[in-house]
Amino acid sequence: MNVRRSIVWVILTLAAGLAAAQKMPWETNDGQSDAKQFVKFLYPEQVSVTANHDSVVELHFKVNPGLHINSHTPHEKSFIPTQLLVAEPSGVTVGPVDFPAGEDFSLAIEPNEKLSVYTGEFVVRAHVKAKTGEHLIQAELRYQACDATSCFPPRKAPVTVDIVAR
């Protein structure tokens, strides 16, 4: 009886483990969960465009309060620019991308040293051309964030947009 119970327990434990494995731990975006992101992609989740025509998709992002990220064109060469990395599915071409101009920002201790940054909400305009159908575009916004006294290693904010071309 005890042996049979033990077998059932082992099977149930295995089942629980396998059920947990269905969550796919390798889907965790290299440890960069939302809680670890300093920039979030806001919208759109889905956009309709005219098939085989140049269209512009406006991607809206938000930098967490109290932080700034380098613009696409930082004033200093060694600073890491904000970039959009796109995996193009077949049937869609993406590019070029228009980034907004950065705003000047200075650390309190060095008011004369100007940084070119994004804060709050900003919009990146991606030029898209898609064949008829539905296409899932997966991209990443690579950025490097700082607050008033510290800087954080570069990160990638996930961006997913469903392009419906008619």
């Binding site: 295995l14 269905q22 390798w26 967490n64 990395l85 228009d98 570069p154």
Partner: protein, 221 residues
């Protein structure tokens, strides 16, 4: 009895199906990841050419009153530098990066303080946390040169070491820069700061590090 056997068989079949689904999903995702990586393109601006949570968390020194983890790293000239080389000295470990603006404010202070207190036994070591492409020799060489150039531009007068990411781990992971550890003459971490510190605070920590572990200094002389 027969019913129990049937339950076990059904459970085993279910387990088998779940395992199969997991493996299949894993393979499919791996393929998709490989495909996405191949097709990854970096988009640049159309007109202007490109020149070049945790934030709120209070900092807790992960090594307070502990021995500073040992390491050996190469400096910007390719020479091996070990923490153990500085036994009996007070050591400031400054984790920084070329892309870190607040680090560049602190570095001139560290340079001055290094000059000021070197005769009393102070050593400053800058540890670069810049990303390195370890799989691409040409890129790696270029990245190391950029760190050396940046150090020269900042007039750094102390050794600049290049972290292979194995050193930052025992020092708590280094989530933000600059992060600075102050090690006394006995090799114990007596203070640490994260983010841009006040110059007076840096100097006070240096004095504390120089003043602690005097026994080690006496023993060494």
């Amino acid at each position: 009895m027969k019913r129990n056997h049937l339950v076990i068989v059904v459970l085993l079949i279910t387990l088998g199906l779940m395992a199969w689904a997991g493996v299949t999903n894993y393979r499919r995702r791996k393929q998709e990841q490989a495909f996405a990586k191949d097709k990854l393109v970096m988009l640049t601006a159309r007109s202007a050419p490109a020149p070049a949570g945790e934030a709120d968390a209070p900092f807790k020194n992960p090594l307070a009153d502990k021995q500073a983890p040992a390491f050996t790293l190469k400096d910007t000239t390719g020479k091996n530098v070990s923490l153990a080389d500085y036994k009996g000295k007070a050591v400031v470990l400054d984790f920084w990066a070329t892309w870190c603006a607040p680090c560049k404010i602190e570095i001139p202070w560290l340079t001055q303080l290094h000059d000021q207190y070197a005769s009393q036994g102070l050593v400053v070591l800058g540890i670069s946390e810049d990303d390195l492409d370890l799989d691409d020799k040409a890129a790696l060489l270029k990245q190391k040169q950029e760190i050396a150039d940046s150090a020269m531009k900042l007039h750094i007068n102390y050794p600049v070491l290049i972290d292979d990411k194995e050193v930052s781990k025992p020092y708590g992971g280094i989530d933000a820069l600059p992060t600075t550890f102050y090690v006394d003459r006995n090799g114990k971490v007596i203070a640490a700061t994260i983010g841009l510190a006040d110059r007076d605070e840096i100097e006070a920590n240096i004095k504390k590090a120089l003043g602690s572990g005097e026994q080690a200094q006496k023993g060494a002389s």
